[in-house]
Amino acid sequence: MADKNMVTIEIDGNSVSVEKDTTILEAAQSIDIYIPALCNNELVEPYAACRLCIVEVDDGRKTKLVTSCNYPVRRPISVYTSSEKVLRNRKITLEMMLSRWPNVQVIKDLAKNAGVEKARYQHPAVDLNSNACILCGLCMRVCEQGIWENIINFTNRGAERNVRMPYDSDQPHCVGCGACAEICPTGAITMADDPNQPFDAEMIRKAGMRITEEMIRYDEEQCDMRGVGTAHLVEIMDAYDLLPVMNYRYGKHEETPKISSDVFRKHFTSGKPDGCWLGCTMACAKAIENFELKTGPYKGERVLVDGPEYETLGGSSNMGIFDPYFVAEYNFYCDTYGLDTISFSTGTSFIMECYEAGVLDKEKTGGLELPFGAKDAALELLHQIGRGEGFGLVAGKGIRYMKKYFVENFGADPGFVFDIGMEAKGMEYSEYVTKESLAQQGGYGIALKGAQHDEAWLIFMDMVNKQIPTFEDKAEALHYFPMWRTWFGLCGLCKLPWNDIEPADNAETDEPAKVPGHVQGYCEFFEGVTGKPQTMDSLVRMSEKVYNFQRVFNLKMGFGRREHDAIPYRSAGPVTVEEYESRQERYDTQLKEDAGIDPTGMSSEEKVALTRKHREAQYEHLLNAVYKRRGWTNDGVPTVAKLMELGVDFPDVIELVKKHGG
């Protein structure tokens, strides 16, 4: 049966089948038939300004001249790209262009190809500049459609028409991305060099423009960062059982769709990118406009909420709260009080589990009822933290403090609160469930700053792809990625354009997880600024020096040894019977296949204990492998030899690590 969405047409006698609404120009290009087109570019919608792409169309009843760039194919037609009528009209158009812009190379070339050597007309506004603006409109269209800005536009009419910023003044909203200059076919737009005198501004712009072009072409079908930002991860993490639910006990929830990115796309965000950094075309920061607050000191006022990002949403599911209005409210007040949404939500998730387990009650919390899902009480707790009063005084000090406080003041079982209090080195976990990825447990536990995934996000690589099965494989990933990702911090760059947009050929590279095309771009950024050529290895080497130095700093401050890389058991496996039984099939299979223990006939309590024994041993093996790969002692201390190799063997550094066996 014929596909209703396909249409077969003839172009210069050649038959071609294309999807309905394909333009004639696209259809011709698909079979390598050349049609000249000056104002057309794949990055923007067709505009039909230059009229060079005219073709003659015969629909069986009549023939007509149409511009092929914006003529959609909807039924069988015959197209003639070089009929006498077409050639005559195209020549006239080119003569008029040549009369106005006689020295612009692209016009001269097109005219020559069409057999026009000299214009017969004299244009009243002739422009002899070889870089003259030819009014094709590509610049303003890429600004509007590609970058989602409207910085430049046509002004005046007739022969006075030109392209300008409004009122001929510099526009503060111009992100300086350079897309208009890059797309301009004549060089009419040039970028002013940066006042901070980079070594090679052009090299930097070219590397940046490749990312911009990828954003325009692929973002919508890839991560949709400009549409919804990192919120797109909510539904994805839920699908892979990785979205933290109820203090990381579970990885998905039936109510997740209530806080998915689609909800925020429809109801909250303004549909415009709200980038956090001038010049960034990923522009993934999102805002909720005109949001009416229901609680706190600004109750009743309408405000702009800066967010939510994925972590804020994952923090909400972690508290068992699936209400987009709550998310906006806690996002706003965390920002207003200067609190991190991750620390607040992970801390409150811990409190909620303690409340449900009987460690806390209304009396101990000063009247707050705080089981999972208690959104009003969670907001009141947030305000108490902001005001520095009541139970907020305890909660605001973080999980590490609370664990000790609950044991000393409320008689909590230390084993339980230490198992479920999700922090490492005193910092609260960010919002991913790590139980099924040993490498990611290491990513959180070994991270220098505490339990954060930004040194290494290896869950897919480890758990889903099964690309790093051995301890050595995981250790290699826990060497490369933390070093690479540290490099962004060294240079003050954001990581997201590295791995939230992908070059077209990335899949065909040797190591797609590293996104080699983008690493090359960062080498060019660095060289463009400093004049020093770089490779992937040299960038990583820069980080390795700093990373090891930071580890020594941690050591000096009392956080740099093996014991400080310990993780709460909830990060590695199921703490409670209920948790085990919720994924019993998975855990039973893993006991059998990974630990070599047949769980048949065992109680859930026995299986929880055996799973724990196995997983805790695995984590210790992982630490051994990572320390070895990094050139550290088995206690996690950089060795003297490693520090000498890296050139950070300062006398006081050597003295310190020697004291700790380095």
Partner: protein, 65 residues
Amino acid sequence: MIVVNGIALDWHEGKTVRDVIREMNYLFPLLIARINGKFIPRNKYDSTEIPDEATVDIIHLMSGG
């Protein structure tokens, strides 16, 4: 039977890469598919049929901070 990322899946005649992605509920957009080591471009997921006994890798890249 085929093996997808180390997991055994039933096979039927005409099963495509897209079918496997749906069956595994792989919602993540940045995927790289290989059938017996051979790379399959994203625009061929609907039309590429997987042979019986094949080893299929659906590599997930990374995203987020």
